[in-house]
Symmetry: C2
Subunit: 250 residues, 2 copies
């Protein structure tokens, strides 16, 4: 099995390193990842400027390609131009910070998996519930490898990816996998208005995350309860209930 690995924290992050290490027990791993942190880029593609691929070494050997673009760029250019052999699976992560509930819509990590799906690959996004880069990702990476190993037997359809969120807990405190649905928690947004040294106003996005999903059938609820949450996320977006009854007057 040939696994393409990417992320949105950048090729230097500890999360991708732990993931690559664990996936090497499953198959051959190729890395194509952003050259810097790309959080909250969503499914952006770089169409107005050229992309460059830089070979990165780590521990004295070739580790992967760093791209001056978004996670979705990395997946596209990896598959179309950089990989010498066809990939069989895409794994994106491990992201520092969970990607649950409404955050899925902003997540570069999840969008990389979405792009993998668009390009015809089975795809998994993996995040850990800690923003601290020092958090050990070994256990989350092992869980990701377990999913990668059995992916073919899970019968996931071509329009669906798996979005995995692991608690930042030691191995013995993790309760195992739990299949979940996307939760409904979201942000209470705010912008801080400041003045620059010239007296001109500018704004910073701030705000607070309201975690309301305590149900362990939700992605966030399961993760907070100590499970590795696995959500099948689908990109056929039509609301069929509404479609069948919607009548618009001319």
């Amino acid at each position: 099995m040939h696994i393409l690995v990417t992320n949105d924290d950048g090729i230097d992050s500890p999360g991708i390193y732990a993931l690559v290490h664990a996936l090497r027990s499953v198959g051959k791993v190729s890395v194509v990842a952003p050259d810097r942190q790309q959080s909250a880029v969503g499914h952006a593609l770089t169409v107005s400027s050229p992309l460059r691929a830089t070979k990165i070494r780590r521990d004295g050997e070739f580790f992967g390609y760093a791209i001056n673009g978004t996670p979705a760029d990395c997946v596209k250019i990896g598959i179309c131009a950089l990989l010498e052999e066809k990939a069989d699976l895409l794994v994106s992560g491990i992201n520092h910070g969970s990607n649950t509930s409404k955050n899925i819509l902003y997540s570069g990590t999840v969008s990389a998996a979405t792009e993998g799906m668009i390009m015809g690959l089975p795809s998994i996004a993996v995040s850990i519930d800690s923003l601290d880069y020092r958090t050990d990702c070994t256990v989350a990476a092992e869980y990701a490898a377990r999913i990668a190993r059995q992916y073919a037997d899970l019968n996931i359809p071509a329009d669906t990816i798996l979005n995995v969120n692991a608690p930042a807990l030691p191995k013995e405190q993790i309760k195992g996998f739990r299949v979940t649905r996307q939760g409904t928690s979201g942000w209470e947004d705010a912008y801080e208005c400041r003045k620059d040294p010239m007296g001109r106003e500018y704004f910073w996005l701030s705000g607070q995350y309201n975690s309301i999903d305590t149900d362990i059938d939700s992605d966030e609820g399961a993760m907070k309860a100590g499970y590795v949450s696995v959500t099948p996320v689908r990109y056929q977006l039509t609301n069929e209930d509404i479609r069948s009854r919607l009548r618009i007057t001319e």
Copy 2:
């Protein structure tokens, strides 16, 4: 009714101008839009740099705020920091170029509507099937206004937006509204590898769009057949069929 209007082609585009003009017959219109073209940004948010809001005049009067950010930024900052009165509806567009099938996932226009929905507003994305900025958007804007006028009666749930795609045809050739589902057409991607004057390689995303949706119940098929396509797009992404049967081995 107070309508927030944004787009991803930038506040100077003819599409947003036509839309604002048509929506003024429906209610009060406020404009908060990117200061430049933002295509293919998807649902990106600006979190690592400050945003600025510049007041723009057009035809001798205040037209709206230009933001140095993405369409999703414009919606968030508009609602949180710039609008003096609460908005009742968000309309994003009119985008030059359709946003059908898999393109929905990359579209800044659609993502602005998604952000509107996240912020609790009924939201509509509007695109016209022509990349040419000289294409007249008056008819598409009139159709958008008709939807805006009856939105409250359509009973669209809070997790769903309307994605509207209009053909670039004269009024008399348009067959009316058609409620559709997201099609499955997509891109055959390719990267062109070139060398810069220093001899270093760089890549441009190129590729070709394969239009395979001819069914008039699909967004693209309906639009190509002369209908104004209206797709209810939902952002609860869980694949419930898979969720209920997925078993992952520890």
